[in-house]
Amino acid sequence: MSDKKDAQFYQEILDICLTAGRLMIEGGSEMYRVEDTMLRIARNAGVEDTRVFATPTCVFMSLDGGDLSQMKQIRDRNINLELVDRVNQLSRLFAAKKIDITELRERIIQVAKAPSFPMWLQIIGAAVLSATLMVLFMDNYDWVDFPGAAIVGAVGFWAYCEFKKYTKVRFLSELIAAMVMGLLAVILNYLDPAVIIDHILIGALMTLVPGLALTNALRDLFMGDLLSGIVRMCEATLSALALGAGVGLILKFMGA
């Protein structure tokens, strides 16, 4: 690293790779894909001998040629597959030499502002998901609980998204969303005794339930990313605790 231009170049590559890695982890990608993408970007930029280590809370990268090594912390993790897809596309374009490194840098910064589906569409998605899954899981096709599950699922998801804005603690927002769902289900049962609280909650909670996190954790473990697998498993256990505790508390208080 003798002249100054070189140092700048390496710094730029580090920046781009770390941002790409952070975006992909925030989008909920698997660890081996994150590491692979970062290595690919660096290799296509012409840097040999790079090292990457990614965990769900932090990414590290070092470039041998520039004596540089940096890290980036990751604060919030949720599933947003649009981010993963966009970063992947940019990496493909860069590998095909359709964009150069300055353009890659500009576009990767813009990925963070990728458009998401509007809130009402997401809420409708949550409602549809909880109603249909309730029917699939219960296997006895009770149409009485169908609208109830949709309403509770939609309101619970909305509450979760709203509380997420006020608190950084994910556990809390999940707990509160589960409490809201439990309360609503009890109220519906009070209004119409034919409604079964358990069925409604099973459908409605599918929007927040940590099953996917568990499966992703296991896949990371199988791929050999032991650290991130364990971290994700902890996260999944925590959110299961939050949901179960929220609903259990409400049901205990209301005596239902």
């Binding site: 998605g125 249909t132 029917v135 296991l218 299961a240």
Partner: protein
């Protein structure tokens, strides 16, 4: 309820559920339909096997296996990462429900039921993970074989000339 109606309900509902979940996790537009299809296929595989009495573990394994293979094929067609198709498709299979029910049983004080449910979560998660691994292995082997045979055929044609 007749059997064909049950099948129709299961196919449409699993498709709708997968697409609904895809909306909440912001899947790219071009992948919405395909992720729904692979969700429906995976759930149908699970449901039919479960009804045929193959047990929870084997049915989940088969469902995850099919989802994995479909996801890899779709990823090659659409040039998306595999996760984009797999995560929404897995939603009907994934053991989120027993995980929540286990904690609820523990909160209420029903310890035996809680233990049983936790064990179920572990078994189903393991089955899904193994199904995914198998699907990755199969597709890799398939493409390797295909490439090798293509080369053989090309060599054969060249020799003929």
């Amino acid at each position: 309820m007749p059997f064909w109606l049950e099948i129709v309900i299961n196919v449409t509902f699993s498709y709708i559920a997968s697409v609904g979940f895809a909306l909440t996790i912001n899947v790219p537009h071009r992948a919405l339909n395909l992720s729904g299809i692979s969700g429906a296929v995976g759930w149908m595989a699970y449901w039919l096997c479960f009804r045929a009495g193959m047990g929870r573990m084997l049915s989940n394994l088969l469902g995850a296996f099919l989802i994995g293979i479909l996801g890899l094929c779709f990823a090659r067609i659409k040039k998306c990462p595999v996760t984009v198709f797999n995560i929404p498709a897995l939603v009907p299979l994934v053991p989120g429900m027993p995980a929540y029910q286990a904690v609820r049983a523990l909160v209420i004080g029903n310890y035996t039921q809680g233990q049983e449910l936790i064990l179920r979560v572990a078994i189903v998660t393991g089955a899904i993970g193994i199904g995914f691994l198998l699907s990755t292995m199969c597709t890799e082997a398939f493409y390797k074989l295909k490439r090798r045979h293509l080369r053989k055929i090309q060599l054969y044609i060249q020799r003929k000339k």
